[in-house]
């Protein structure tokens, strides 16, 4: 196929039109103008191509050349991704900084991965082996946390003719030669490419049955997400979307975390860059940056690259999934991505649907969230990998009925509704337990029963039930005051208060409370719910409610979360014992 060579005939913001592009294909990556701005063809009519340009178009002129690259908009895959900071089209921001200083300017030829750096390659296969796509040729220790598995590229299979011996190689050196079926040989390097808009293939989808443990109680216990699941966090500004996303990026037990800062604040990205190298992964004790990739396209960077950043992120996620890892992708915020779609759509003069968003918004959202899941990967060893996507949504004015929130709800199974009122009363994480839901509870119950305790579901449901009962009682209390309620119902209000403060509220800045392991979560919840039952019995036996609220153990319940570290759970047994004792003492006074 000949490459297309055309000229610019129209420029409007991030969108340009070129003629003479009859050799181009849809979604082909092109270089526009003398500065080689990177663009993607988004519409073809005759030899006219409409191009979305991922860099600032200031100064671009008519009749400047447009050259097809012959490939679709793609990302580079290979060792060196982990710990990297990339923009929306995967340009390494550190290298960009070396070239253009602290400000981003137009520049040619920034690649994602270093082609000079040498990596220590360990072959895993021997010559003459019959290989298929996805088989692991060898491994590279990318960081202390991630073993990078070099795979036979998609579409390649045959007999291994040559494999590099153990040693140091750059990503562009040939490390294997495979004789494909028709006798032709294919050289394989560690550097591979994949077009971002096309999902990477897998053998088959599997059922999601393992929770992504995030260490956040309201999430893991009440609204859990599975490895391979999808979740939305909508909330007005100041409700704590970003801090929740960052908590998940920090503490979730994924092997690889991809954090896409899509149209958000620059200072927030620095916060991540500053804190992640210092924070240690709770399970491995290694710096969190050693498993993290950042895609940072802040709000003032080109809007079309913001559109691409989500696809860049999910393609990187698929690549690590294919190695057999559990990947978690955080996208903050998908609303900014949708707005980028809207802006480009407006420039194309497309007919708008709801609130000016293009009518294909829902199908784009669906395409994105459908790239999550648990899969059996390509390759003969049948590895399992997963991608879990957590998308923040920033609804205008905090109104959840707007299109992005509504459509996101359709394609995700977990909904963590952030609430301005809760945030206003400094209840963090401000996840509203009445408006949130998780579609994974039944799928994940087995895991909790096997790994934590077989009464997990009972306790969780009971606690949820208490919270629901409180919600109904709250309206009555507003009208007649709490004194008018019978003690049994006032106990519900008291227990719900304990659940809210002692369990649901979690301080991200507290060194102990910031991460709570599943066993601790379960024990805390069990103590609180048992407290409710015992107190209910004592009340039936005639104890007045104020005797319950005066019990000294309530203070201990409130402090369990930040006074008892995850590795001293036996101290929770002491709290439990004290609680039983308190109740017995109270009961004794009744006789």
């Amino acid at each position: 196929m000949a490459t297309a060579e055309g000229t610019v005939i129209r420029i409007a913001g991030p969108v340009a039109e070129a003629k003479g592009m009859s050799n181009a294909v849809m979604h082909e990556m092109v270089e526009v103008g003398h500065n080689g701005l990177i663009g993607e063809i988004i519409r073809l009519e005759g030899d006219h191509a409409t191009i979305q340009i991922y860099q600032n178009t200031s100064g671009l002129k008519l009749n400047e050349p447009v050259i097809g690259t012959g490939s679709l908009l793609s990302v580079e895959l290979g060792p060196g991704l982990i710990g990297g900071v990339f923009d929306g089209i995967q340009r390494q921001l550190e290298s960009l900084r070396v070239l253009t200083g602290p400000f981003i300017k137009q520049v040619h030829g920034i690649t994602a991965l270093s082609q000079e750096k040498k990596w220590s390659f360990h072959p895993k296969v021997k010559t003459d082996a019959k290989l298929v796509s996805g088989d692991i040729l060898g491994t590279v220790k990318e960081t202390n946390l991630v073993e990078h598995r070099i795979m036979v590229p998609v579409g390649v299979k045959g007999k291994l003719v040559e494999i590099a011996s153990e040693g140091d190689y750059t990503i562009v050196e040939t490390i294997a030669v495979i004789e494909v079926a028709d006798g032709k040989k294919t050289d394989i390097q560690m550097l591979q490419r994949w077009p971002v808009r096309i999902p990477r293939p897998h053998t088959r989808r599997l059922f999601a049955s393992i929770p992504l443990i995030t260490g956040q109680r309201v999430i893991d216990t009440f609204f859990p997400i599975a490895k391979g699941g999808s979740a939305a966090i909508p909330g007005p500004f100041g409700a704590g979307k970003t801090i929740t996303q960052q908590q998940l990026a920090k503490w979730s037990d994924a092997n690889v975390v991809i954090y896409v800062g899509c149209g958000e604040r620059g200072n927030e990205m620095v916060e991540v860059l500053d804190t992640f190298p210092q924070l240690l992964d709770p399970t491995t004790g290694q710096p969190l940056m050693e498993r993290t990739i950042l895609v940072a396209n802040t709000s003032n960077m080109p809007v079309s690259a913001r559109e691409a950043s989500i696809y860049t992120g999910i393609t990187l996620a698929e690549y690590y999934r294919d190695m057999g890892y559990a990947v978690a992708l955080m996208a903050d915020s998908t609303s900014r991505w949708a707005e980028a779609l809207r802006e480009v759509s407006g420039r194309l003069e497309e007919m708008p649907a709801e609130e000016g968003f293009p009518s294909y918004l829902p199908s784009r959202l669906a395409e994105f969230y459908e790239r999550t899941g648990v899969v059996e990967t390509l390759g003969t060893d049948g590895r399992t990998g997963s991608i879990c996507a957590i998308g923040a949504v920033s609804p205008p004015g905090g109104d959840f009925s707007e299109p992005v929130t509504q459509h996101t709800k359709r394609f995700t199974r977990v909904f963590w509704a952030l609430d301005a009122e809760l945030a206003g009363s400094r209840h963090y994480p401000a996840i509203n337990w009445m408006a949130s839901y998780s579609g994974y509870i039944t799928d994940l119950t087995d895991w909790w029963h096997k790994n934590v305790d077989d009464k997990w579901a009972d306790y969780r449901n009971e606690a949820m039930h208490i919270l629901q009962a409180e919600d109904e009682l709250k309206n009555i209390v507003k009208l007649v005051g709490p004194e008018a309620l019978p003690d049994k119902q006032r106990l519900i209000i008291e227990t719900a208060r304990v659940i809210r403060i002692a369990f649901l509220q979690q301080n991200a800045l507290d060194p102990i409370d910031t991460y709570c392991n599943p066993k601790k979560q379960y024990k805390m919840l069990k103590i609180i719910v048992d407290f409710h039952h015992l107190a209910g019995n004592v009340i039936i036996k005639g104890a007045p409610i104020f005797k319950i609220t005066e019990l000294p153990v309530i203070e201990d319940l409130m402090r369990m979360k930040n006074s008892i570290p995850n590795d001293q759970l036996e101290r929770l047994d002491e709290v439990e014992k004290k609680m039983h004792q308190n109740m017995e003492n109270l009961e004794a006074t009744l006789r």
């Binding site: 129209r10 409007a12 100064g59 671009l60 921001l93 602290p102 300017k105 007005p236 200072n267 802006e343």
Partner: protein
């Protein structure tokens, strides 16, 4: 790009601020255009769309007096550049950085692209140094940090102008030797407001440290889009070339957004919420994200944009989109203003996201964080009690609630309220806070470490009000 540019005579159409020019060659997107009216007056514009036959130009000063046949255009080959100079401090400029205070021209040290360039996220440094505004409600409870963007959400008729002027007069940095300058950007403000600011800065001598960019309410809306960019371009020059800490005050963002909407609709763009253009978020971000610090540079840019919420509605697109970009907000309350409390800052809805890293031992004082969270929760409690008073009357309150009532009143009158010329140090603010908290029993002060209670409570009683 090379050679003298051609002058084109006649335009195809004129519509609002937009003109279309036919048969032009070698024109770049975003390029600056000089437009000559039939009477010989020169105006500026920029290219907003180029196509094979027609170039679309937005004329900054408006299209009044232009005629299709006699208008002359010249394409200047670069995008809009504005002068920057340290001599702009103490001066008043228009949207293009030209002096309008009647004094002689200053020496232009450099000309820079008014749009600037986005800061590479990896080149940013996290903001963590305190700026003292001398206003207790801000310093104590929603502290401003160098490199932060902290907007003021006000309402029509509230005292945000006084507040802005007071911050300009009083703001100072601590523990730093670098100069501290202020860039004051007024967009679409009324003549009397402009006079108020000018007088206020001149009388106190603050003007020598202030570069003021002035765009008045009756100036063409298109110019309003340039004013903040010209000011921010100077701020970047001062911060990153001259090692200054620059505080940029932009008022009123609402006027800016109205101009944006007006231009967008004259270009027949598809509107989004309330008729504002879909790209308003990105556009505002291109202003706000110019705040920050850069690794290896001594200076910093801190922004305080001021906006009046239409109908006091915080969910209106202007405050809403602003709140999504900025790092917190300071919200003014009509209720407090009516009670005669100046500045009428509602601390419950106000928030500074970067405060946690900008206060404490090395920045302000060790007890600051504790005090702030205690004040916050006690004041929230006071508000609960007050709504109770509305139902059952003050007589019905328990002693506990009465203590909170007393605290809250003292808090509003002694801490929030202050004189228009009263400049408090952060230590004074914290001492006043301790004083107000002394109305509460000691066991209520759960957010404060016991050692601080020991050290600071009652210490200041002698100077009590």
């Amino acid at each position: 790009m090379s050679g003298p540019s051609l002058e084109y005579r006649g335009v195809l159409s004129i519509n609002g601020p937009i003109i279309m020019v036919e048969n032009v060659s070698n024109v770049g997107y975003d390029e600056l255009v000089s437009v000559k009216t039939p009477t010989g007056e020169k105006r500026l514009g920029k290219v907003i769309q180029v196509s094979q036959n027609v170039v679309t130009v937005q004329v900054f000063e408006g299209t009044t007096n232009l005629s299709p046949s006699e208008t002359r255009t010249r394409f200047l080959g670069h995008s809009l550049e504005v002068p920057v100079s340290t001599e702009m401090l103490g001066r008043i400029m228009n949207s293009y950085g030209e002096p309008i205070d009647g004094h002689p021209r200053f020496f232009t040290e450099e000309k820079r692209d008014v749009n600037g360039y986005p800061i590479n996220p990896t080149a940013r440094e996290y903001p963590k140094d305190f700026i003292q505004t001398g206003l207790s409600a801000i310093d104590g409870l929603a502290s401003l940090v160098r490199g932060q963007k902290l907007p003021v959400f006000s309402g029509p008729g509230l005292s945000h102008n006084e507040l802005a002027a007071q911050i300009v007069r009083q703001a100072q940095i601590r523990n730093a030797t670098e100069p501290f300058n202020i860039v004051f950007i007024a967009m679409g403000i009324k003549h009397d407001d402009a006079d108020f600011f000018r007088k206020s800065f001149e009388e106190t001598g603050a003007i020598k440290n202030v570069a003021m960019f002035l765009n008045l309410a009756d100036d063409p809306p298109v110019e309003r889009i340039i004013t903040p960019r010209a000011g921010l371009t100077l701020a970047e020059y001062l911060a990153y070339e001259k090692d200054s800490h620059v505080l940029v005050i932009m008022t009123d963002i609402t006027n800016y957004c109205e101009a944006l909407r007006e231009i967008s609709s004259s270009m027949e763009e598809v509107p989004s919420r309330k008729g504002y253009p879909g790209y308003m978020y990105s556009d505002l971000a291109s202003l706000y994200e110019r705040a920050g610090r850069i690794v290896g540079k001594k200076g910093s840019i801190t922004q305080m944009p001021i906006l009046t919420m239409p109908n006091d509605d915080i969910t209106h697109p202007i405050p809403d989109l602003t709140g999504y970009i900025t790092e917190g907000q300071i919200v003014l309350s009509r209720n407090l203003e009516k009670q005669g409390i100046y500045p009428p800052i509602n601390i419950i809805t106000s928030l500074s996201r970067l405060m946690k890293d900008g206060i404490g031992k090395n920045n302000t004082r060790e007890d600051h964080a504790n005090i702030a969270s205690q004040l916050y929760s006690a004041y929230a409690q006071y508000n609960n009690v007050k709504s109770l008073v509305a139902i059952i009357g003050e007589e019905g309150l328990g002693t506990h609630d009465k203590e909170y009532l007393r605290f809250g009143e003292r808090f509003e009158k002694a801490l929030i309220k202050q004189g228009r010329n009263e400049n408090r140090t952060i230590e004074q603010t914290l001492d006043i806070a301790w004083n107000a908290l002394s109305d509460l029993p000691e066991e209520e002060l759960t957010a404060i470490k016991p050692e601080y209670i020991q050290k600071y409570l009652h210490k200041t009683d002698a100077e009590a009000i």
